[in-house]
């Protein structure tokens, strides 16, 4: 008891040492890490997560862009020109540009404030691909909005204008690397309207969560018959060559299988049931891929899923703790892929 407590404490101590050593290796982290953490905490207090967000002064930030700083430089040069030549018209131009620089941020801010963003939904994606979210942006006032950029940095994202229409749906995407449920980082909405000298932006958390399937990695041809039929577990496949029994006809049974002879003899309508003893049903089994690591196994299974669906072969899935009966069709595929995506991660 005491020993285990001690060892736990000791492990913690070593971990904290390691943490410190990593800080020593990269001294900048010493400053940036706490700052980044504080920034995130501050942002989450100031602009909390929600599926529908209206932009306002507490969420929007505004600063001059590089071009804006260049504009200030030009103002400085003009002031020097006016001072040295004692030229009042150059002064007037200088002060006009200064005043424009003062007026601009109001316009830039007005271009974003009052916009309402709403998450409409997300579509699942494969790891290594781009996941896409559908977002609706609308304005409630009459002001025209222009040149709004919505993105997950460093992606280019999407640009949109709200001039004639008051609302627009857009799709923006971000690359996803890991499978599972992936919480998207804060979305960046920014605008440089009207002259590009100021950038107004906000980092909003629309509570975007992607379902990310494993990355499909080829694992050879589909493993037909690779699964040993054991006991009475699902080895019988209906629709084979050998007659097995008569059963009551149900609407939808093939007319070729109707027992016309018996029907002619005045009995009820029966259909002949055939079954196959050779089990050709496709099981995508965790155990088939023994010896590879978890993620690779899942990736390979994912690849097979896609292949089977494409070739129209009925397939099922066996994972530790999950069994999905063989079937076919989009909803079946979605179920399979979701199971693969949500398979517990190693170590968690």
């Amino acid at each position: 008891m005491v020993i285990s407590w001690w060892s736990g404490w000791y492990a913690k101590w070593i971990l904290s040492r390691l943490e410190w050593m990593s800080v020593l290796r990269n001294p900048a982290r010493f400053l940036t890490d706490p700052l980044r953490g504080a920034m995130q905490r501050w942002l989450s207090r100031r602009a909390p997560r929600s599926r529908s967000i209206t932009l306002n002064h507490s969420r929007l930030f505004i600063l001059p862009t590089r071009a804006g700083l260049g504009f200030l430089l030009v103002i400085m040069l003009l002031w020097l020109l006016g001072t040295n030549y004692e030229n009042n018209l150059v002064f007037a131009l200088t002060f006009l540009l200064v005043s424009v620089f003062v007026v601009l941020p109001v316009h830039t801010f007005a271009n974003l404030t009052g916009l309402r963003l709403q998450l409409l939904g997300t579509s699942p994606a494969f790891a290594g691909d781009f996941a896409e979210a559908q977002i609706n942006i609308s304005r409630e006032d009459k002001r025209e909005r222009e040149w709004i950029r919505l993105c997950w940095l460093p992606e280019e994202g999407a640009y949109l204008d709200l001039c004639e229409q008051a609302s627009e749906d857009i799709r923006i995407s971000m690359p996803v690397v890991e499978r599972g449920r992936v919480q998207a980082p804060r979305l960046r909405i920014e605008s440089r309207f009207p002259l590009g000298l100021f950038r107004c932006w906000s980092r909003i958390d629309l509570d975007v969560e992607f379902l990310v399937y494993p990355r499909p990695i080829s694992a050879g041809p589909l493993p037909f018959g690779g699964v040993q039929t054991e006991g009475d577990f699902g080895e019988v496949r209906h629709g084979g060559d050998d007659f097995s029994a008569l059963k009551a006809y149900q609407p939808g049974d093939s007319l070729r299988h109707v027992a016309w002879k018996q029907y002619a003899a005045g009995r009820d309508l029966y259909s002949k049931d055939y079954e196959s003893r050779t089990d050709v049903r496709l099981w995508l089994d965790w155990a088939l891929l023994d010896g590879r690591d978890v993620e690779t196994r899942l990736s390979n299974l994912c690849y097979w899923c896609l292949q089977a669906e494409k070739q129209g072969i009925v397939y099922g899935l066996r994972l530790p703790g999950v069994v999905i009966e063989p079937s076919l069709g989009p909803s079946h595929q979605r179920e399979m892929l979701q199971a693969l995506a949500l398979f517990p991660k190693w170590g968690s």
Binding site: N56, H57, N84, T94, W147, F193, L195, G196
Partner: protein, 676 residues
Amino acid sequence: MATTQDLLPRESLLWIFAAQFVALLPQFTQLPLWVPLAWAFAVYWRLEVFRGRRDLPGRTLKLLVILLTMAGLAISYRRWFALEPMVALLTLSFTLKNLELVSRRDAFVSLLLAYFVAATLFVREQTIPYALYGLLSVVVITAALAAQLGSFSARPRRALGLSLRLLAQATPLMLLLFVVMPRLGPLWSVPQVTSAGRTGVSDSMAPGDFTRLSKSDKPALRISFDGPIPPPEQRYWRGLVYSEFDGRTWRQGVGVDPRNGGQVYWKSGERPLPQVGPRYRYQVIQEASRSPWLFALARPVSDSSGVGETLDDRLVKHSPVYSRFAYEVRSWPRGSRNMSASLSRAERNRNLQLPPSGNERTREWAESLGRRGLGAEEISARLLARYNREFTYTLSPPALGSDSVDEFLFGSQQGFCEHFAGSYVFAMRAAGVPARVVAGYQGGEWVSGERYLLVREYDAHAWAEIWLDGRGWQRVDPTAAVSPERVRDGLESAAGEEFMQDSLLPLHRVDILVKLRLQWDMINYRWHQTVVSFDSEKQRDTLQRLLGDISPLRMALLFAVPCALLFLGALLWIWCSGRARKLPAAERFYQKFCQRMARAGVVRRSGEAPRDYALRITREKPQLASLTQRVTSAFERAAYGGDAEAAKELRRLVKRHFGLLDLASVQVDKLKQAGR
């Protein structure tokens, strides 16, 4: 590396070229022809690149182009420290930038440079048309900046409208800054405009010079008086004194010309002021003449900076007058400010100088007068009487040969002011009286609305001064002896039909146009008085008028009050602009409930249905189960069923349980639980 997003679209390029064209157009007229051609070529090349027919020039080609333009500049100007080559250099770098106009960043650099190019226009000229044109270029450049964002903003009407709106909103603050911002003097010496030809009275006088000036009605001086106004026959605006004659041309001469050894007193305290006060106080606004001569009544003193006094009683400027220049002058009455009662030997010799030979007849005639022992005044009177009897005043005198004075005095006997002044001084010198020619303007036209005197180029005049022992330099105007109207009423009445005869359109004969021209001149005068010559002194006056007294507190108030008001307005607007629409009452109360639950430890997950949330609360906090049940069912009925009663119930539930005592009620629930 520029990404595809950063590449310039078509409308962006066209806007940049439009802004460049507007900023460069007035410069093109001043620059050598090859500069605008280079610009047009660069634009053409860039458009060809846009169409995909050509590549952007490579590094060697660019280097070659830069070397070529530098060589071109060196050949065209031969000097660097002047305004024109600087502007040409700026224009060329602006032009060459087009050959590497690739990304949005390049576009910004080009447009920011355009503002600067537009401003250099004002260094050349500060008149109203130029100011309006400068404003136009700023509107276009700002519109081009707006259009850089593309799509909707790039439409011409939208971009120009946006630009106009921004500039209009910026104007009030601009005016405030214009009045309040302190003006420092020049920080270092800067190159000036040098190339344009000199206008007005020049530093030498040959027959025909003043006839040329008489054909121009351009304004030269505008003079406003503070106090008494001199009568017309006293309005002699002295600018230059010519002492040296070479037989044809009168010059200032070595030791008189301030650029050639003449002494100038630059500080106003250098020479003592007389006991009596000045007779006239006035301000002169002089048009650009590109020479340093200033014009004032006799015996002037000026406190304006950069203005000095010479020994021969006139004012000069430190550097040539390259743009309109205003100076304050006080002039003293005769006798009060005669610096020397006697003429020094050198002065006397200089003012008796004559070329060694030529004009023998005049010399003889004058010497005969001198030999008879007549005084200076009598000789002058005889000469003037001769002018009066036999001579005519004309704007188109016949050409004169090498002995110009002889030919004029004994031959043609027709002349303009320079003939009379020149021959008079020659004759006086020959007779042994020190004399000199003075050039400047005489007269002027009242612009009644503003009470200022407008002196035009055709008012240029030359007269004489003779030295009278005991009385000093005395003004004599030989022209007045021939044509008194010239001095009293101006050139127009003196010359009659000849006045402005050669001008393309005889506009001076149309009465209404003359009035309109005077009106326009008045507007120009006001413009110059209020805007162009607004210096630190006028700034102080204006502020004093506005504030009563310039204290830091009042200055702060003047600046801070409008700023604070603007700021407050902006804050209010910002506060209101971002407010979301109000949620329905049921939603609002339910959200309040969710908040309270979150505080109690059960946070509603995003997208979680109310019923699921209620189940979870029941599971995790059984003591809140009944309340949750009631709230949830009331909310569902109110929000989805539109049940008004349910809405009221929800409100009551939330208010009662989560008023100030919400936490306490949770505690009570807990106690009850424990008691059971």
